[in-house]
Symmetry: C2
Subunit: 523 residues, 2 copies
């Protein structure tokens, strides 16, 4: 059985069971068994992480930055090996997806996090010389990261965005891998373990558990030694972890579920229906719809517009070969969700059932309802269908559209397509007023899939898309501040202050707010 | 019966009961009855606030700033009337406390919030021109503010810090007053109502309910129309509201309870025991100990040091007349807490019981335990005693001290006194390493009472001092960001962007991060 990474050592797990991953292209179990860790493994990881957190507080940020850069470099060098393993476990193609897109994004995130750690401006040092008060965002303590199934590299808990942010902010990470791709996670962890051993950082800076039973996970996140938790995954798991963290007073940052409503106004349909149908098709079928920003609800005004666009999308859905799904769990859950939406009264336009055969797949699925149907069962019609399954909602007019949108829960994204000739302008403003507060990212004339790693990104949003609308899981430096506490130093003697708060700037790059003025200068 | 302020009108409440305040100096009920609002009042307030939130999103920030400045001006003009009423309901002296300190702090907060709203930099606009992404912190929606008993002005839900922050961030406030000072809250609300009527802002920007039953309060904070909640008060009430908000996915910012540990190292006692005893006495007895940052736990190393300092503080406690408490509830709760600490084995050095007579007061109380006692019952000895009641903990040596400190829960503040000659330096660093992650504000050679309204302040801290260690309830602009959501605009057309994100700077003062560079310039 495979070893876990605890306090710098690969050790046998105190396993309460084992599991194997599956090859989604043929449904066959892969040979290696991986351990399911019980509480003693978590306890050991927490102890080691708690000590490492204390040591990391005294480590120069440059050393952390160098570690992140070195890790990125090594990942680039091992691209073929990593992507071959990831493809086998996820069914995602090596090219372009894993090697040219996702791994590059992963190493880009690590390098951006290194830059943020090195210059330190993310921590927002604020100095009030008259009152002898100095504050900044300091590391919060050990961070437990739960990774999702759909991004085996860029959101992997031992290499992805939450990992990079937590480490760059100065915290150790306990990674809890996703059971659908343990060998991929292991490959990454082998590399991080090697790089860590050379880095001079505490050995427990990065630790890995492949899997834990649900109750053990809940106990781990509510442990007093934990600083914060990062989670990307299903709403059910996310809410269970959130309840445990809330009760224990621990910050948890969740990226849980999103329907990503797309509103297509009449002028846009008139101007460029075919182009919009192409974009919608491409966005819905990207990665077989297994994207957190995949468009799940499409609102169209007017029956003829809905017929036209619906028919065009339906043809594309019907013609395209269904993509491979990540796991039998995804396939089953998609089938159940589609059935729930059909049971609530949706018309099935295309698809609706699993593809026969050993490969894990589900027919590209398009469903359709009217505005009044949505109003009557707005909960059922906001069921997330993770995969290529999209619900068209045909609103009679703008007034009805606004009423429909007012029923939406929080989402990661919301998109509005409108005419370029100004004919939709009044409707646009009404729609945006309703949609804007309900989504983290508002798009114009653009589908929501494709999340740029930019300082201006918000990959988050109101509940239940996430647990707090003020934080983002993608985008540096903002994502680092999730894993930090605001620390104030009141009349603390100069030589006892952390370097970013001393009179002399630690590096000349750090931007600080000194008596109300932002500056990179020393005092 | 007194009217409530709903949607710009003073209206009779749909009361489920009434209550009266008490004059703490003689325990007599004050004549005016005030209404306890039932759900229909909350429902009406939420409806009006929800509409007001939508309107406020289109209001120029200058108009909000002018409103806050005008309110501050009017409060200054009505100082005598406000402070007379507040003194009658709270027993706090008009001079210097209410008029020279607390009201000035209140108007200072409103003016600082106005300045922050006017320049807009608090919202951290971030622009990535290459990816056409722009983000900033936007108003979160209606904010319900619960005020505490101990700061009738500076934390009043219709005038204090949470109010100023929520309004400056662009949100309407539903204020839920504290039942111990309804007439004070009413005076403030009358003024805010007048100023609001002249301001051009939506009438429901500021609304007031004097009191609600507990279950109605829980229902209100979990309502979908609410954006966020601010709470300052007891741990029991705070935790009940937190559970309701957590289940509904609503951000709640709590300032709940704090023991404010003070550590006095041997060299400091040797150097300046008498001065430290003076400072401790002054800090413990300020406002009869009814301060969230009042020192509740004092750690001293060495028995003789503990005897000396303990005796000196005991004499001062014994000699000083006990202050007047805010309410019978405070008196009862203080008595219960002191009894709990005594029951756990603490030695009662001075005080320990209510002062006889009609005036609400409790003897200045000093208790003492050894290190091993604290280790055995660290929960009971972390009982908050709200009032002048302090527990001395006598540690045998630095090693024991560190063990004691490791048992502390989260606190707002932690103070360390050390020698000026360097003799405590090694102990200081060990103590600070344990204490720093457990407190929001770390002080050197200074007592924790007295919270400066500074951009570098952290008035918050790890649970259970607050609900999230990344936020502060005092200090502008940081306190505004609690009442905001991070909104990203992706390819949104220039003329549809909110003013802070357009190419042209709205005012020349706003500092934005444009393609990685902070600047007040237009693009």
């Amino acid at each position: 059985m495979q070893a876990i990474l605890l306090d710098g050592q690969w050790r046998p797990a105190q396993a309460v069971g084992t599991f194997s991953a599956f090859d989604p292209t043929n449904g066959q179990a892969l040979p290696e068994p991986f351990p399911i860790s019980g509480w003693p493994d978590c306890d050991a990881a927490l102890d080691a992480a708690y000590s490492a957190a204390a040591s990391l507080r005294n480590v120069d940020a440059k050393q952390i930055a160098n570690f992140l850069d070195a890790y990125a470099e090594r990942l680039d060098g091992a691209a073929d090996e990593i992507c071959t393993t990831a493809s086998r476990e996820t069914g995602l193609p090596i090219l372009p997806r894993l090697k040219d897109v996702e791994l590059k994004r992963t190493t880009n995130q690590l390098r951006q996090a290194a830059t943020a750690a090195r210059d330190g401006t993310w921590s927002m040092p604020t100095i009030d010389t008259a009152n002898q008060l100095r504050s900044y965002f300091a590391p919060i303590g050990p961070v437990v990261v739960f990774g999702p199934n759909n991004f085996p590299l860029a959101f992997n808990p031992i290499a992805g965005g939450d990992f990079a942010a937590a480490i760059a902010a100065g915290n150790p990470v306990i990674a809890k891998g996703h059971p659908s791709h343990p060998a991929t996670t292991q490959k990454l962890a082998r590399i991080v373990g090697d790089v860590l051993a050379q880095s001079g950082l505490p050995p427990a800076t990065c630790q890995l558990l492949y899997h834990v039973p649900a109750d053990v996970g809940l106990r781990m996140v509510s442990d007093p030694r934990v600083g914060a938790v990062g989670f990307t995954g299903s709403k059910a798991s996310g809410l269970a972890l959130k309840a445990a963290c809330d009760a224990a007073g621990k910050p948890i940052y969740l990226e849980m579920s999103s329907l990503n409503p797309v509103v297509i106004l009449p002028g846009a349909v008139r101007e460029r229906a075919s182009d919009i149908a192409d974009q919608l098709f491409t966005s819905c079928t990207a990665a077989a719809g297994q994207m957190c920003t995949s468009p799940g609800l499409v609102f169209i005004v007017g029956e003829s517009q809905c017929d036209g666009l619906g028919q065009s999308v339906a043809e594309k859905f019907r013609a395209a070969p269904p993509g491979t799904l990540l796991s039998t769990g995804v396939q089953r859950s998609l089938h159940e969700s589609v059935n729930r939406v059909i049971a609530a009264g949706a018309q099935l336009v295309v698809g609706g059932k699993p593809v026969a055969g050993a490969r894990l797949a589900f027919e590209n699925t398009l469903l359709r309802i009217t505005g009044p149907q949505f109003l009557q069962q707005s909960e059922a019609f906001q069921t997330e269908m993770f995969g290529t399954a999209t619900l068209l909602i045909c609103a009679a007019n703008t007034a009805e559209l606004l009423e429909l949108l007012s029923r939406l829960h929080g989402n990661l994204t919301g998109a509005i397509y409108s005419a370029t000739d100004g004919s939709d302008e009044s409707s646009y403003h009404q729609v945006a007023a309703v949609l804007r507060p309900k989504v983290g990212r508002l798009l114009n004339d653009k589908m929501p899939t494709g999340v740029a790693v930019s300082p201006a990104m918000q990959h988050g949003g109101p509940y239940p898309a996430s647990g707090h609308p003020g934080f983002t899981s993608v985008g540096i430096p903002a994502s680092l501040r999730r894993f930090a506490m605001l620390q104030c130093f009141d009349h603390v003697r100069e030589d006892r202050l952390p370097p970013p708060l001393r009179n002399k700037s630690p590096n000349g790059q750090l931007i600080r707010c000194i008596d109300g003025r932002w500056s990179n200068e020393s005092i």
